[in-house]
């Protein structure tokens, strides 16, 4: 029987992965607001994140989806 933690790992891992791939700017903004300069790249009054960080976050998102699939294949 599949445990609750394994189920949560697969569902939340895949959901976070999709979010990171689809909306990488959101994650960069959340991590940088109040910590690092996040609004110094775009035009005034706009959110603009570092394109390099955006791509790295998308790769992390793909890694999350792969990890969720790996846990799924091991658990189900």
């Amino acid at each position: 029987m599949v445990g609750l933690r394994e189920l949560l790992t697969v569902v939340l891992g895949a959901a976070l992965g999709v979010l990171l791939v689809a909306y990488p700017q959101v994650f960069v903004r959340i991590q940088t607001l109040g910590r690092m300069p996040h609004d110094t790249r775009g035009r005034y009054g706009e959110d603009a994140e570092n394109p390099l960080w955006v791509r790295i976050v998308q790769l992390v998102g793909v890694a999350c989806i792969v990890a969720a699939l790996y846990v799924a294949t091991q658990s189900f």
Binding site: L12, Y23, R35, M36, Y44, E46, A67
Partner: protein
């Protein structure tokens, strides 16, 4: 009462964030015992202080900001800021200029130790009254302690995320899946806490606009500045669109303001700001 709406919203969001923080600290005490309590409080304060200091330093360094000389081409900007600071009841902040490649301006620091950075592109694009509107908006961020508020909000969200992560990790079987789940839960909890911080960030932009409107006697100059910046310099837009295309190509849902984009944006839509400035 000045900024009544902001105070009500801050009370609500502050209570929600405090509840998140209290639950996180209680969870930490439940996991590690009562001896962790002073350490958790001290750690939280140090984290916020560290983020504030590093954030300010990194913001100035990332754009290569340099002090605006008091005399010469920036003399009128200094006089403008002196007058606005006096009207707003704050010390004149340090003024810096930077070649950012785009028209932009931002404020860092706190009341008494604030810094306003204005891009050379913005200064060359705007008329004096429009620049005054933008600077008044940035001074309002310093007067209302917006930068400090965001740092504290981020600090609380980080602490809550870290505790959630460790709670999941320590209640698991130390398997690979537990490490992964702990990381995911930490990020999701931090995201949820940040929704409230970002909501207050967007409202603070409206408050800063209203303060700027009051300080210069009209909302029209700042509204015109926002319109000009929105239209943008054609050359800058072309340069930027190339970067955007590269990024958008990797984004499934593009650049449109979907619900998630709206929920996690730091600024309200520019059109809405312009409309409120002209009301």
């Amino acid at each position: 009462m000045r900024h009544f709406g902001l105070k009500v919203r801050m009370a609500i969001v502050g209570s929600i964030l405090f509840a998140f923080y209290a639950i996180a600290i209680l969870a930490a005490v439940a996991i590690w015992g009562t001896s962790v309590f002073p350490l958790a409080i001290l750690g939280s304060i140090l984290l916020v202080g560290f983020q504030y200091k590093v954030g300010k330093w990194a913001a100035l360094r990332s754009v290569g900001a340099e002090d605006m000389p008091e005399n010469g081409q920036y003399q009128h900007v200094h006089r403008m800021v002196e007058d606005l600071s006096r009207d707003m009841g704050i010390e004149k902040p340090r003024l810096m200029a930077a070649n950012m490649g785009v028209p932009n301006a931002f404020a860092v620091g706190r009341k008494g130790a604030g810094v306003v950075v204005v891009s050379t592109e913005l200064m060359s694009m705007l008329d004096d009254d429009e620049l005054e509107g933008v600077i008044a908006h940035e001074l309002s961020h310093i007067a209302n302690r917006d930068v400090v508020t965001m740092v504290v909000g981020q600090g609380i969200a980080s602490v809550v995320g870290i505790v959630a992560q460790w709670a999941v990790l320590l209640t698991g079987d130390n398997e690979l899946a537990d490490f992964f789940l702990a990381m995911i839960v930490g990020q999701i909890v931090q995201m949820i806490a940040m929704i409230f911080v970002l909501a207050i960030s967007r409202y603070r932009e409206f408050v800063a606009d209203a303060d700027a409107k009051r300080a210069i006697g009209s909302g029209d100059p700042l509204a015109r500045a926002l319109e000009k910046i929105q239209r943008g310099n054609q050359a800058v837009q072309e340069d930027r669109s190339q970067v955007d295309e590269q990024v958008s190509a990797l984004c499934i849902f593009g650049e449109d303001r979907s619900l998630i984009q709206k929920l996690f944006s730091t600024h309200p839509p520019t059109e809405e700001r312009i409309q409120r400035l002209r009301e």
